[in-house]
């Protein structure tokens, strides 16, 4: 039996879940939590303080993306909690499991409000951007509610959960037995579920009847750690593979059967495949809803959809067969049955055709990427970064046009090594994502391809980087504008632009002021040496690269994207 504060009980529960970091900004009401973290550091947990809580939520999100384990963020009552909101919303939209902890004013004067300083309805605030949330209304319920938080965050379609912790509950002390802290397997499913064998049989029957099968792998594959199964099945069946934007790297980009999301090769594959096995993918907007003209449509294509969450089956496009189950386990079931039923198959003619299409499509970008012109072409910048960093680097993308350019030209070779909040499209995630990735994988190089607009949303986190010696390289494509929006205005408003241009800001000098390495780059041949100097500096580094404003305004397929985003909205 030990005597503990509520904060310490909470920390001991987190330790059982293997939590290593809580990201946040401290506050008076959070004191028992931060102090308990301090006193439990030798058990392997620590507090990483940010310069804005939004960054804490983004770091928790990125931690989950890179490690597969839920990330934890914390904010104090009122402003601390409200500052977390944008980051939690991104994780919610992108189905990333994070646990959000907020301090609340004392339980006897919250819900309803009595006018305490900073008090606000945090339960209401987070309810629409979390899968579940609750007020921890007594010291006795801390363990139970933390267990529920992890149970919900990780079950079905993963996502954020939120615990609102009244100060009196955190400060209260009580006696607790060591065995009150359960192991995760004692209170939540740590694996599965698998699929009904009859459904697996049906799926295999469909796959084996296909002339040109396609595996469409979504974020669920990354969350479930199912990339080996995807690859094994694809290679055995000769199937084409189209990862979604959020699951780049499930199969390396240089694998002969894989196609880049939204590329012409992928669109060709999605239109030409007669059977599609969609795993952990909901066919959202960036997947063109799984509908013609970017997909074949029901007449010529049968879709098998595997998802952990029953409510995702057929939500955007009709399916032939829906299977509810964990991506890794269901794929393993499918692979095993396929191997028992048939020998390895050769890839279809569709693969050859789509490969040729992809190569033609990419060749134009590669040509631009070789440009020696000044000012620097954005594609040249991306190519230099791509060629400089090792294969297992982690790439974070954050911006408008530059993000689109980067998603096309960057090659991603490993699972969980490409981070882009593509579904939420939230500017500012880049630096916090990179910092969490570097914390999780200190042995890997981590770099960001940043727009100058998006860099400015979270640049204060360079100080966090310096303080924790997180040696990331932040590469800013500086076009002195919100380029993507400027381009949209030029197209839609007959040349009128408003609210999109910037003063020439020295991002490199900002970095230097926070103890980081900074350099401005203006010529294409300077990029590579500058990258080398950035890495050699032994510091977090910012390269402020002036790019040509004209091409920066015209990324490939811009109009196609605009058509998708503004479908049904014409000026």
């Amino acid at each position: 039996m030990s005597r503990m504060t509520g904060g310490e009980v909470l920390v001991r529960c987190l330790l059982k879940e293997g939590v290593r970091y809580v990201f946040g900004v401290p506050g008076a009401q959070l004191l028992p939590l931060t102090d308990a973290i301090f006193r439990n550091r030798e058990r392997g947990i620590d507090f990483i303080h940010n310069r804005h809580e939004q960054a804490s939520a983004h770091m928790a999100d990125a931690w989950a993306r890179v490690t597969g384990q839920p990330g934890i963020c914390a904010g104090t009552v009122g402003p601390g909690a409200t500052d977390l909101v944008p980051g939690v919303a991104v994780a919610y939209v992108e189905s990333i499991p994070i646990v959000v902890l907020t301090a609340q004013t004392q339980s006897w004067r919250a819900y309803p409000s009595h006018g305490s300083t900073q008090e606000c309805d945090q339960l209401g605030l987070f309810s629409s951007i979390t899968k579940w949330n609750a007020v921890v209304n007594s010291w006795d319920r801390i363990c139970e509610l933390v267990r529920q938080a992890f149970r919900v965050a990780l079950s079905g379609r993963p996502g954020p959960v939120h615990l609102d912790l009244p100060a009196d509950v955190l400060f209260q002390t009580g006696e607790i037995e060591e065995d009150a802290f359960l192991e995760p397997y004692q209170y939540r499913a740590v694996d599965g579920p698998g699929a009904d064998p009859a459904l697996v049989e049906k799926a295999v029957e469909l796959l084996l009847s296909a002339q040109a099968p396609l595996i469409h792998a979504g974020g669920g594959v990354l969350r479930a750690g199912a990339w080996n199964e995807v690859r094994e099945l694809a290679e055995y069946l000769g199937a084409l593979v189209t990862p979604t934007v959020g699951s780049r790297g499930v199969v390396p980009d240089d694998h002969p059967q894989v196609f880049k999301p939204s590329g012409y090769g992928a669109i060709g594959a999605q239109c030409g495949a007669d059977v599609v096995l969609a795993v952990g993918a909901r066919f959202g907007e960036l997947d063109c809803w799984g509908q013609p003209p970017f997909w074949c449509g029901r007449e010529g294509q049968k879709i098998i959809q595997v998802d952990r969450a029953a409510e995702m089956i057929g939500v955007n496009t009709p399916v032939e067969l829906g299977i509810v189950g964990d991506a890794r386990i269901v794929l393993r079931q499918i692979v095993d049955l396929v191997k028992r039923s048939t020998g390895p198959r050769k890839a279809s003619q569709l693969l050859t055709e789509c490969r040729a299409t992809e190569e033609t499509w990419m060749s134009e970008f590669e040509e631009l990427a070789g440009s020696d012109k000044e000012p620097i072409h954005p594609l040249r910048l991306i190519k230099e970064a791509r060629d400089f960093f090792p294969r297992d680097s982690i790439v974070c993308v954050d911006g408008g046009n530059i993000a689109v350019w980067a998603s096309y030209l960057m090659h991603i070779y490993e699972p969980r090594s490409f981070m882009w909040a593509g579904d939420m499209g939230h500017l500012g995630v880049g630096l916090p994502y990179a910092l969490a990735a570097k914390l999780a994988c200190p042995e890997k190089q981590v770099f960001i391809i940043h727009g100058d607009g998006s860099f400015m949303f979270m640049n204060q986190e360079l100080e966090t980087a310096r303080r924790h010696e997180l040696r990331i390289v932040d590469i800013i494509a500086n076009d002195q504008a919100y380029g993507m929006i400027k381009q949209g205005q030029l197209v839609a408003c007959e040349g009128r632009v408003i609210g999109v241009d910037f003063y020439d800001t020295r991002c490199d000098k900002m970095a230097e002021s926070m103890g980081c390495y900074g350099e401005r780059v203006e010529k294409p041949e300077q990029i590579r040496p500058a990258l080398q100097r950035a890495v050699d500096s032994g510091l977090p580094a910012v390269l402020d690269v002036l790019v040509d404003k004209e091409p920066a305004l015209n990324p490939p397929d811009f109009v196609t994207l605009v058509d998708l985003w503004l479908q049904g909205c014409e000026m």
């Binding site: 012409y264 060709g268 003209p293 055709e353 789509c354 033609t360 499509w361 058509d563």
Partner: protein, 141 residues
């Protein structure tokens, strides 16, 4: 040169001639070697009463036909969409990806020849073109 009725016999003769003579297009479309048909859906309320089909083989452009013989690619759209494409208001590939111009046939191949497609459109846009029905005032050249 007088304007030629869009997709009429004279128009098609001229289109094939200019297609064969455009070396840049021929180079960009090398290896395409396939048959296509353009189906124009009627829009009676805009003075376009009949369904029309025109087919050809590209990039050879050696012949055209106006019947429903089997082809590898069929493009299908109302007359107004073709007018938008020919007048440059709508990019041809964008018309496909928007779903305005419906395509039956292997998409990968079409996407591989996007450059060729755009150059072909440019070629056709050099022909003085007469549109029909309510679209007459959008004729050009």
């Amino acid at each position: 040169m007088a304007r030629l009725r869009f997709l009429g016999a004279e128009y098609m003769e001229e289109a094939l001639k200019r297609t064969r003579e455009n070396s840049e297009y021929q180079q960009a479309s090398e290896g395409f070697d396939d048959t296509l048909a353009f189906v124009v859906e009627p829009e009676p309320d805009k003075g376009i009463d009949e369904r029309r089909t025109v087919g050809t083989i590209l990039p050879q452009a050696t012949e055209y036909w106006m019947d429903d013989r089997p082809v590898t690619f069929t493009f299908l759209a109302p007359y107004s969409v073709y007018v938008d494409i020919m007048t440059g208001k709508l990019d041809a590939v964008r018309a496909i990806t928007k779903g305005a111009l419906k395509l039956k046939g292997p998409m990968p191949k079409i996407l591989r020849y996007v450059k060729g497609t755009n150059l072909w459109m440019d070629t056709l846009r050099t022909i003085p073109t007469q549109f029909e029905g309510d679209f007459a005032d959008r004729s050009f050249g």
